[in-house]
Symmetry: C2
Subunit: 204 residues, 2 copies
C-alpha cells in the first residue's frame, strides 16, 4: 500500500485535536455528583447506550450510522463550547456558531473525510432519519437519567419546570417511543420528590 | 410492542452503572497535561479514531464490530480498575481479576445482552480477529500520541525504556501495519528529545 503522508498527518492532527473535547464541560453532573461531565465521556456513554437499547428503536436501524452520529455529534463543541439547553440567551445564534465550528473542526481532515464527518454531524442535527431520531432520543434520555439520579441535578440547580423538561424530552417520544413511559414516570416521581417544579400542578 | 419492564429495568440499571467508568483514572495525561485521562473519555477517543483511520486496517473490516469493541473494552475496569501496562506486579493476576469483573459488570444485563457484551469483550481481549487486532492497535496508538504530545508523559514519569514501548506497541504492527512507520518515527524523535530512554543506544 502506498501511504499518502500528507493525508495521514492531517488525520493524526485531527485525532490530537479531538483530545480537547475532554475539556469541554457540560452542565450535567456525574451520577455520583462528584463533578460535572465532559462532552467526550458523555459521547462515550450515549454510544454505549445505543448498543444496550438498540431494540427500542421503532424499527430496524443502521446501527453503525447511529454509533457514528453519537461519537461525532459534540465534536464541534471543541470550538463552539457546550450550550446549556435551557439557556435562552445562549441558544440565540447557536446554530450559526456551531455551523462555523463544524467548518473549522472537520476542515482539519482530508476533504473526503471532512465531507463524511460533516454529513454525519448534519444528519444528527437535522434529525430527519430514523437513525438520527434514535440518536437524538438517547442524547436526551441520558440527561434524564443523570438528573433523576442526582436529586434533580441541573433541573434543581437552574430551577427548571416540568413543562420545559417535557418539551426537551419530546425527541424520545418519536425516536425511541418505548422509552417514553420511563420518561413520564421519572418526571412524575421527580415532581413528587421535589426534584422538579410542577408548575401546572402548583397553579391549580 | 409489548415491553418487558423487568428487562428494561436491567438495561437502565446497567446504563447507570456505566457512569462509573468516568471515575476510573488512567495513568496517561490529556494532551494539554492538565490532568490524567479517565477510561470513558479514552474509549470515546479511540472509537472516534477508528472512524478516522479505518482505511489503515489491513483489509476490509466489520466497522460496527470494531466500534463496539472499542466502546466496551474498558467497561470491566468499573470493577477491576485500570492496570498500568508497565506495572509488572499489578499485571500479575490481571487476567483473572478482569474475567471476574466481566462476570460482574455484564451480569447486570439481561442474559442475551450479557452474552453479546461478553463476546465483544472476549474478542477484543483475545485479539484473534482482524477487527480485534485493529481495535487493539488503536488502543496502543492513542497512548503513543498522548505520550509524544506531553513531552514523554508516562514514559518519562515512570522511566520507561524504548524497548519496553516497542514491545507494547507491537499490536500496531499486525493490526494496522500502515501506522507502524509513525510509531517508529515518534519513538526515534522521543529518544532524540530525551522523552524516552534509549537503553540500547546508551549501552553502545
Amino acid at each position: 500500500m502506498n501511504i499518502d503522508m500528507d493525508r495521514m498527518k492531517k488525520q493524526i492532527c485531527f485525532i490530537e485535536h479531538l483530545d480537547r473535547l475532554k475539556q469541554v464541560i457540560r452542565q450535567n453532573l456525574l451520577m455520583n455528583e462528584s463533578r460535572r461531565e465532559n462532552s467526550a465521556e458523555h459521547s462515550w456513554h450515549i454510544a454505549t447506550m445505543a448498543m444496550v437499547l438498540a431494540e427500542y428503536a421503532p424499527h430496524e436501524l443502521d446501527q453503525l450510522r447511529v454509533l457514528k452520529m453519537l461519537l461525532v455529534h459534540d465534536v464541534i463543541e471543541i470550538e463552539a463550547g457546550d450550550t446549556f439547553c435551557y439557556d435562552v440567551e445562549g441558544n440565540k445564534g447557536k446554530e450559526e456558531r456551531e455551523r462555523l465550528a463544524a467548518d473549522q473542526v472537520f476542515g482539519l481532515l482530508p476533504s473526503d473525510l471532512a465531507a463524511d464527518f460533516r454529513a454525519i454531524w448534519d444528519e444528527f442535527e437535522q434529525g430527519d432519519t430514523p437513525e438520527a431520531r434514535f440518536a437524538n432520543a438517547l442524547d436526551r434520555f441520558q440527561v434524564l437519567l443523570q438528573n433523576f439520579n442526582t436529586g434533580g441535578g441541573t433541573w434543581r440547580i437552574h430551577n427548571i419546570e416540568k413543562k420545559q423538561v417535557i418539551q426537551r424530552m419530546l425527541p424520545i417520544k418519536t425516536g425511541a417511543p418505548s422509552l417514553w413511559p420511563v420518561v413520564e414516570s421519572c418526571l412524575e416521581e421527580a415532581c413528587d420528590q421535589g426534584m422538579l417544579k410542577d408548575t401546572v400542578a402548583s397553579q391549580e
